[in-house]
Symmetry: C2
Subunit: 144 residues, 2 copies
Amino acid sequence: MPAPTTLPISEMICFSLYSATHAMQHAYKPMLEALGLTYPQYLVLVSLWGEDGQTVGQLGQALQLESNTLTPLLKRLEAQGLVARARDSRDERQVRVSLTGVGRDMQARAADIPGCILEKSGMTLAALTALRDQVNALRDQLRG
Amino acid sequence: MPAPTTLPISEMICFSLYSATHAMQHAYKPMLEALGLTYPQYLVLVSLWGEDGQTVGQLGQALQLESNTLTPLLKRLEAQGLVARARDSRDERQVRVSLTGVGRDMQARAADIPGCILEKSGMTLAALTALRDQVNALRDQLRG
DNA sequence: GTTAAATATATCGCACACGATTAAATCGCA
DNA sequence: TGCGATTTAATCGTGTGCGATATATTTAAC
């Protein structure tokens, strides 16, 4: 009986995504470090720059993260003075996350990051956009 | 002066990869859980099924992980009886990781995972392969 | 109106990732 | 040969992710 065979790691789509995600975070790292941010913290700020005052649940929906990940992350952002957290007065179960002045100013300081990433990718914006849509389609299929 | 604008999180390629990686790990989870494995542990085993007796450094090269991640992970695999770790007698700096019988048998028990993932992806093998190559190209560009 | 079910967030424990540092073994070169 | 430089793992500290659970609030059923 022959030994079972397994696709080499380098040819597995799951590993492509896994390693590309790491490479992407590595590409962001020096720029985010200069702003004192981690990558997930940056994603939270991006989401808040788009819509301020979101609840923890809304942020979780946008980033596909649970409160057990977001709560400590948001506390760290609050400790840095970038956001404020407050219970919603209408529904005290919910916690609304608002940008502080410093948090809003961070948007300008981070403004050239996307361009730098585009450049590091060595791809055209059109190619990246097409790739993004394919990756999103795969993700949405996997989510069921 | 208008407020600076930032691309919505849903349109950022970095977030596509980030969320697709999470969705992929979520798809693997029930199957790996049945084998008592985490996703990174599974990747290590896949690598060893392809080439047994790799050093920690070789595994790190294949998976793009450092020893500070691999060492505790490998210790957990060793504690489960799936691998053995031993210093190379020729070069005692290196630690070689070998599959145990149980670790080898796991390959057969995991044999139908790739097919299940392919099915969950809802894509043809050709489409997935093409997407993989594009993602790999982006990753390799980002690595520089 | 009281109480059970549902909802939203927080807490706890475990397993990655990774920067920085340490320790041991090997290599290289005078 | 000897000794500094390099290589290889391991260790330490911080920050995610996430399953399981706890707590508080709101909703719904009666």
